[in-house]
């Protein structure tokens, strides 16, 4: 059976056994990983896995269920039990399938280029060669005597998913993704063993960075961590590099959802139309980005995907509104979940922004910490480098930044021209002024 047939069968079982409406999503994916460490193979893993999810609307009640057991008898029993589960709880007038009008106007899935037609050409010897090349390149960087270990990994996945709603939606998509990366651990004379990594990923195998570049970058990052110190506490200018900056913008997106608004857990409630950030911040949710990791022609509820302007010149324009919480709030649905972000980029990259800043701190990674979506208070562990005279100075670690989100984003002083290509948030270098740093 095709996935679409499985999804239709499951939706049919649901309505036959008492659901008024149902949505069924079936998926299958192949995952392959090769891990390599210190000159030899560490692990190979390969599997094809599958599953089925059902949203059931039964007598005004709602249950969402999933199973990996697709044997026909087991599936039918599971649907019957799930309908009974829904019947046991309270009705909820806001639960129903989306208005079918929202399914209309879907972009051409093929034009998004989410699946590499050459996926099957990537074989075990190729993965192994790449894993080895990553390590060789990492070990060629000067300072090899300090290297304790190099681990590399090469993985790929091919996924296929079908979604069927009993009120007229049908969707099917296929996607691929390829990843490889290296991690190096080096010996600090004081006993610490700092580690750093680098990775590349793409929906198309041919668009990956060369393993030599990735291995070298991992090694340079690891060697640069030697002798890290804890700097002084104070207010500083923070330059956050693209790979790390996703952590900051990610903390804005949760509070932008209708669920957070309706549950009063959003510091952005009531701020639509107002400035929440410096005029430099322009954010668009962009599901139609070609080859994007978050790209899609329809979202999890079957809504046709289209770009949404979230923040324009620092002013909050729109929230992420799914159908359920949209009904509760009386807001028209947009989409419930972020896809890709696109930014209004600046003119300079990380190093030029470091030079402009003169004195401050470059953040290359966050460690732990949290951001309170209700109040906007945040406190995050950081590592990176001191910036002196416009250049990177000593590595710093065991430090922390804190503040509140609205103040932080109003102090956004520059946006780089260098969006991080390996994550859906696509963050460029971000510069913030007057940020509280805790150290000695």
């Amino acid at each position: 059976m095709t996935l679409l047939e499985i999804a239709k069968l499951a939706a049919g079982l649901a309505t036959r056994h008492g659901a008024g409406e149902a949505s069924a999503g079936a998926w299958r994916s192949r995952q392959v990983e090769v891990a390599w460490r210190d000159g030899r193979l560490e692990k190979i893993a390969e599997a094809t896995t599958r599953g089925l999810g059902l949203d059931l609307y039964v007598d005004g009640r709602y249950a969402a269920v999933s199973t990996s057991d697709l044997r026909p008898a087991a599936l039918e029993r599971f649907v019957i039990e799930s309908v009974a589960l829904a019947r046991a709880i309270s009705p909820d007038p806001h639960r129903r399938l989306p208005d079918p009008a929202l399914y209309q106007g879907r972009a051409d899935e093929a034009a998004l280029e989410l699946a590499d037609p050459a996926y099957d050409a990537v074989d075990a010897p190729t993965r192994r060669r790449l894993a080895e090349a990553l390590e060789v390149a990492a070990r060629e960087v000067p300072g090899a005597g300090r290297v304790l270990s190099v681990s590399t990994s090469v993985s790929d996945t091919q996924g296929e998913a079908a979604l069927v709603h009993t009120n007229g939606f049908e969707g099917w998509r296929r996607s691929t993704a390829f990843w490889m990366g290296a991690e190096m651990t080096v010996q600090d004379p004081d006993g610490r063993r700092p580690e750093e990594s680098a990775a590349t990923g793409s929906r198309f195998f041919g668009a990956l960075e060369a393993p030599e570049a990735v291995g070298r970058r991992a090694a340079e990052r690891a060697h640069s961590r030697l002798g890290a110190v804890k700097g002084a506490s104070g207010l500083v200018t923070l330059v956050v590099e693209p790979r790390a900056a996703g952590r900051l913008v990610g903390a804005l997106l949760g509070p932008m959802t209708a669920g957070a608004l309706q549950q009063k857990r959003s510091f952005l409630e009531g701020l639509a139309g107002q400035a929440i950030a410096s005029p430099l911040l322009d954010l668009t949710d962009d599901p139609l980005l070609r080859r994007g990791f978050g790209s899609r022609s329809y979202d999890g509820e079957g809504l046709a995907a289209r770009p949404r302007r979230l923040v324009e010149a620092g002013v909050l324009r729109e929230y992420y509104v799914d159908c359920y919480y949209g009904r509760k709030l009386g807001l028209a649905p947009t989409t419930g979940r972020p896809s890709n972000l696109s930014w209004r980029l600046g003119q300079k990259g990380r190093d030029a922004l470091v030079a402009d800043v003169g004195e401050g701190v470059l953040v290359t990674g966050f460690l732990g910490g949290n951001s309170n979506s209700t109040t906007g208070d945040f406190s995050l562990g950081v590592r990176g480098f001191a910036i002196r005279g416009g250049r990177l100075a000593e590595p710093i670690g065991e430090m922390n930044v804190s503040g509140d989100q609205l103040t932080l984003w109003r102090r956004l002083a520059a946006v780089g021209d260098d969006p991080y290509p390996y994550a859906a948030l696509r963050t460029p270098t971000l510069v913030f002024e007057g940020v509280q740093l805790a150290g000695t």
């Binding site: 999933s66 990996s68 697709l70 709880i89 732990g368 406190s379 995050l380 590592r383 065991e398």
Partner: protein, 471 residues
């Protein structure tokens, strides 16, 4: 029902799959069958109006060649699918086939650390619903400032069966339940949110009136105090950790670093430190699989090995790493029963279970009174560590400033960062009031989540960096 029936497999099918797994000369292979039924009920805006359920059934096939791993898994428990999976995993080795076991012996020596009156898949939703509705009413009644209440009850019934190429076969039924209450309160236009949760390998009887009362009291009190709370100062301060969930300090500062895979690879800051003094003589840290009904407890690990109490630190000396089968063979020691995995989709790794510090010689009052200016940390949400550099963090939801030996004002939302070995050296007072936290902690590593517990007596750390504001 025996495990064989539950999975629809036979001894012959297991034997043939293991034979395929060893067909290229692997020196060990195991099969991990898992059947997991999860059920969730959620209360929001006054009604239990959402139910979630999941069933997952599958098998993972692992082949070891030295410390190299081949792994495959499938949801299809037919012979052809399992053989294909086994041949994939077998490819980690490249030599002549080895023999599969001719017969299996089932482990009969396993303890029963989480006996149940009824498995969760035998408790109908109607019996679970009143729990949620009751907490909702009591939370609103407890404080007029409460505006939103969310209650979530999760229950799991999981069966596992491990069969390996030595002919050993182990099975376990692993229940789990988590109840969480989350509260949003408003006061003078300000909002604060917090909550409390309890978890255990237990059945419906876990939810005693006393425990439910505590859930409401703690969730509301921890939220209400936030209206009085502010940020602590930024910088290095003495930190006193309250008894209980402060065990997160151990989890991050030493627990992960003692997982033997990192040490075998030389990538942990604790590599080569076994037998060395790492803390004061009154510091003893264990990782314990035996606590009755604890979230982190297991009867047997996911490789079929017995799980007991492992001493990470004994009288201040680093004693034992946490081992899975690979690392135990690498170091030539017995497995410690720490080989755990998230599901059949993942190979096992050395993981913590319930990690805590044993009681010490000091008293809580004495410890707080000893601090001129510092932080008292009570509740936590999350933490993280860099294994090699040793930097670790934990995020404090509720705490107090200590001034001149007294708790003076509440603080909130602050991350604390330290360095593992340095922080252990600086544990200079340990009280006699050990508590194992009853919360639903989950540990992440290599993309795998496993349930854990943690605990601590009241402890003073002479200095950690507090991610507060100002001076």
């Amino acid at each position: 029902m025996t495990s064989f029936d539950r999975f629809g497999v036979t001894e012959r099918l297991i034997r043939e799959t293991l034979a395929a797994a060893l067909s290229r000369g692997g020196d060990f292979a195991d099969l991990f069958f898992e059947h997991a039924v999860g059920s969730d009920l959620g209360l929001e805006d006054g009604a239990v109006n959402r139910a979630y359920a999941s069933v997952s059934l599958g098998v993972g096939v692992r082949v070891l060649k030295g410390d190299q791993t081949g792994y495959g898994y499938t949801e299809d428990l037919s012979l052809p699918a399992m053989l294909e999976c086994a041949r994939t995993a077998a490819a980690i080795a490249d030599g002549p086939a080895r023999d599969a076991p001719l017969a299996f012996h089932v482990r009969r020596d396993l303890p029963s650390r989480y006996p149940l009156e009824r498995a969760w898949d035998q408790v109908p939703p109607e019996e679970r619903l009143p729990l949620l509705a009751g907490l909702n009413e009591r939370a609103f009644a407890a404080d007029a400032r409460v505006r939103k209440v969310n209650v979530h009850l999760r229950s799991e019934a999981t069966s596992v069966l491990v069969a390996d190429s030595t002919g050993r076969l182990a099975e376990d039924s692993q229940p789990m339940t988590v109840l969480s209450l989350s509260v949003l309160a408003e006061q003078g236009g300000r909002r604060e949110q917090n909550g409390y949760n309890v978890a255990g390998r237990a059945g419906l009887e876990f939810y005693t009136p006393e425990r439910l009362g505590r859930v409401v009291r703690e969730a509301v009190a921890r939220t209400a105090v936030l209206f009085e709370a502010g940020a602590p100062p930024a910088g290095e301060l003495p930190v006193v950790l309250a008894a209980g969930s402060s065990g997160i300090l151990l989890h991050e500062a030493i627990g992960h670093g003692m997982e033997a895979d990192f040490n075998r690879k030389g990538t942990s800051i604790y590599a080569d430190k076994i037998g060395k003094v790492v803390a004061r003589p009154f510091v003893n840290i264990v990782d314990d699989a035996t606590g009755a009904g604890a979230r982190g407890s297991i009867n047997v690990d996911d490789e079929g090995n017995a799980a007991g109490v492992t001493h990470l630190v004994r009288d201040g000396v680093l004693a034992t790493y946490l081992h899975d089968a690979i690392s135990a063979r690498h170091y030539g020691v017995s497995p410690t029963g720490n080989g755990r995995r998230e599901s059949y989709r993942h190979p096992p790794l050395p993981r913590m279970r319930s990690t805590y510090m044993l009681p010490g010689p000091h008293r809580k009052e004495e410890i707080i009174a000893s601090v001129k200016r510092g932080l008292y940390c009570q509740n936590f949400s999350n933490g993280q560590v860099n294994i090699g550099a040793g930097d670790f963090t934990f995020y404090v939801k509720n705490g107090w400033l200590i001034e001149d030996g007294k708790l003076t004002r509440p603080v909130k939302d602050v991350n604390i960062i330290g360095n593992g070995p340095k922080a252990l050296e600086q544990v200079d007072m340990v009280a006699d009031d050990l508590e194992i936290d009853e919360g639903g902690w989950t540990c992440g590593k290599d993309g795998q989540s496993v349930p854990v517990s943690q605990g601590l007596p009241t402890v003073r750390v002479a200095s950690l960096t507090v991610g507060g504001r100002g001076r």
